[in-house]
């Protein structure tokens, strides 16, 4: 459904996006995970035809964006990160406006409007001016506006920023609903849990480039199967490295003075053995936590920094 090849965008010396490429199959949710400034919104803007890429190519449903932008835009639904609504209009009027832009009229418009209001849980507030809505309600309407013309591909740019957990759950449910109906979704976020919970495939981004991509399972496999130990204390990194090297199968994922990330794979001596070795080494440890590997660990491994840095 979506094919992005070697996409780049530079602003002077700054490489906002640098040689990015990925494919999204129809009916799938593809996530772009990365911190603020990673280049996610610039990619969305280039796919939406708002920003011209320096290099690269975007195809939607086999149509080249550069050759026929109008045809591509007809297939796209864009839900921007900022809440873009006419606050003095009601929810119904906002939907009617966007429907009208895409040529929806009469009963078709009425039906689609009611359907969407029901979907995002705003049917009972449909005739109120949007300025009376809470932040979560505005977010939900913001999402509905991008779906009014039944797009084949929806670009969701951080749709859950700054809202309460209940509204977030509602939005994620709506995304799942539309995907179940055959729509393809490109979803950007910097929330790991959200990406892990929602996306079929992910690309992990930082500084305009994709560091890894694949299904959640494939990405986690990069960390190795087994457990991840986070070791903290007042130690030199060489001392921890020496201890881990002596352990069968264990490997360092990340190492710094005072902090180390150790993968203990299945089939090795196991977590207990590793803990015993570390505590028995005489290193000044302040604590060790054991957990299943997650995307945070992967991001740390790939970029050398935490996602929320």
């Amino acid at each position: 459904m979506l094919s992005v090849t070697n996409l780049s965008k530079h602003y002077g010396e700054i490489r906002a996006v640098d040689g990015v490429g990925f494919d999204v199959a129809a009916g799938r949710i593809f996530g772009l995970l990365g911190p603020n400034g990673a280049g996610k919104t610039t990619i969305i803007s280039m796919i939406a035809g708002l920003v011209s890429p320096a290099t690269g190519r975007v195809e939607v449903d086999g149509i080249d964006l550069a050759r026929d932008p109008a045809a591509v835009k007809r297939r796209l639904g864009v839900v921007p990160q900022e809440i873009a609504l006419y606050e003095d209009l009601t929810a119904r009027e906002n939907l009617a406006f966007w429907g009208g832009i895409y040529g929806l009229r009469g009963k078709e418009m009425d039906h689609r409007r009611d359907e969407l209001l029901e979907l995002v849980g705003l049917a009972d507030r449909a005739r109120e001016p949007v300025k009376n809505f809470s932040g979560g309600m505005k977010r939900r309407l913001n999402l509905a506006l991008g779906l009014v013309h039944r797009p084949r591909l929806v670009l969701l740019d951080e749709p859950t920023v700054g809202i309460d957990p209940q509204a977030r759950i509602n939005i994620l449910d709506v995304v799942r609903d539309i995907v179940a109906g055959g729509t393809t979704v490109l979803y950007t976020t910097h929330y790991l849990e959200e990406a892990e919970d929602l996306c079929d495939e992910l690309a992990i981004m930082d500084h305009g480039t994709i560091h890894a991509k694949g299904t959640i399972a494939e990405l986690k496999a990069e960390l190795g199967e087994g457990s991840v130990l986070t070791v903290q204390g007042a130690f030199e990194k060489e001392d921890v490295a020496r201890v881990v090297e002596d352990l069968d199968g264990a490997r360092l994922l990340e190492l710094d003075d005072g902090r180390a990330l150790v993968n203990v794979p299945l089939g090795s001596d196991g977590v207990g053995h590793t803990l015993k070795a570390l505590y028995g080494s005489g290193l000044p440890l302040s604590g060790i936590t054991v957990k299943e590997p997650n995307l945070e660990d992967l991001f740390l491994k790939l970029t050398g920094r935490e996602l929320r840095d």
Binding site: G49, V51, D88, L89, F97, W98
Partner: protein, 410 residues
């Protein structure tokens, strides 16, 4: 799609009517304020020239050319006695009106025969001739009252003035006593008047109403504000992210700009028509208004205003800059173009600049259509000029604005 874009803006105006109400009330407030100011002294009003063609060479002509209007009256009148060449001079713009005193005026006056003071108005001016005509009515009324009340004594007085000999003290005392007695007995005066006023610009031309005049002037300025408000909406859309969202749809940028211009035209025409209908209900306009022409003129002017504002707004970077520049342009054009005070009051050199403003052509067109009963043949070129300028401005503005919008989104 176009209708969706325009409908949305109309609903938004309806929901937030404050700025629209200000635009609608502003012309009425200005009409009231100017009315109040005109009742007091003002040094701002330029002198008004009245020619007097005294075919009789009698007392009234001497009185008018020798007299003076009190300085604190707020009206500076310069009276010049002229010959028959006065008609040509007035057409050259040297006077606002010419008072023609007929050959046997004094004799007819004293004999009680109806006589006519004819005021020939300069057709190129509106307000000053109106003031002069009102002044002439006052003179006629005084003369009328004097003739009816004084009768014989007035005849004696004229004889006394025309005599080469100095009147005796006794004669003056007797005449004064008779005057006093007559005046104290006169409570009313009879009709029909002995002296009537004949006003000539064109045969049967109605007098413009000052309030109607001011309403038209200021309404024209209001339409410029309507156009600014409509076009700067694009910057508001940019600030709120709506523009970015709209540009991600298949709607071309040109269509978004055109829709905004079209909305400015529709809304400008609506505002203008509401104001003009209100003025008509107040009875400030002539009875037979050519509605179709007024509508056509309004469309042409609103298009020119919207086009100009689109061009102007597209050369700045922010909503705030757009507002400041637009305010300067509107105020400048309104001051020069006759929306703040009549263009005919401006000095000769500045008056030529008026023709470079949209206000001038709009105001003159409206005045001819609904206040001055001008000929449609005079209005058509003004309407056509505004329409032509509007098309050009809107076209150029649209191109510039497209470029600007693409830049601001990035």
């Amino acid at each position: 799609m176009f209708w969706s874009l325009i409908r949305k803006d109309l609903i938004r105006r309806w929901r937030s009517p404050a700025s629209t109400l200000v635009m609608l009330l502003f012309p009425f407030m200005m009409a009231g304020m100017i009315g109040a100011i005109s009742s007091g002294p003002s040094d701002q009003i330029p002198p008004t020239t009245l020619f007097v063609l005294d075919r009789e060479d009698g007392l009234l002509g001497g009185f008018l050319t020798g007299g003076a209007v009190p300085e604190d009256s707020g009206f500076r009148l310069e009276v010049e006695k002229v010959g028959e060449e006065g008609f040509a001079r007035m057409e050259n713009g040297e006077a606002s009106a010419m008072l023609v005193i007929p050959e046997s005026f004094t004799e007819d006056l004293i004999e009680g025969r109806t006589t006519t003071l004819r005021l020939v108005r300069n057709p190129a001016e509106s307000i000053k001739p109106e003031i002069l005509e009102q002044g002439t009515y006052v003179i006629a009324t005084y003369l009328d009252v004097a003739v009816k009340v004084l009768g014989e004594e007035l005849e004696q007085m004229f004889d006394m003035f025309e005599s080469d000999e100095m009147p005796s003290v006794l004669m003056v005392t007797q005449l004064s006593a008779a005057f006093y007695e007559r005046i104290s007995q006169a409570e009313t005066y009879l009709f029909p008047p002995v002296v009537s006023i004949g006003s000539t610009k064109e045969e049967g031309a109605p007098r413009p109403n000052l309030f109607g005049y001011v309403l038209v002037m200021v309404s024209v300025m209001s339409v410029l504000f309507v156009a600014i408000r409509a076009v700067t909406d694009l910057y508001e859309d940019q600030r709120t992210g709506m523009l970015r969202r709209q540009l991600a749809t298949p709607v071309p940028v040109a269509a978004l700009v055109n829709a905004k211009v079209l909305f400015a035209v529709v809304f400008g025409v609506l505002v203008m028509l509401i104001l003009l209908v209100a003025g008509a209900l107040f009875g400030w306009f002539q009875e037979a208004v050519p509605v179709h022409w007024v509508l056509l003129h309004s469309v042409a002017y609103s298009l020119a205003a919207a086009g100009l504002m689109t061009m102007e707004v597209s050369v700045v970077r922010t909503e705030k800059q757009a507002g400041i520049l637009a305010w300067i342009v509107v105020m400048g054009m309104s001051a020069l173009g006759g929306s703040m005070f009549p263009a005919e009051f401006l000095p000769e050199g500045v008056r030529n600049l008026s023709r470079l403003t949209l206000n001038y052509w709009a105001v003159e067109g409206y005045l001819d259509l609904i206040v001055r009963d001008g000929r449609l043949a005079d209005v058509l070129p003004r309407t056509a000029l505004l329409a032509g300028v509007g098309v050009v401005f809107a076209g150029v503005g649209q191109m510039l604005m497209q470029r600007r919008l693409r830049e601001v989104v990035r």
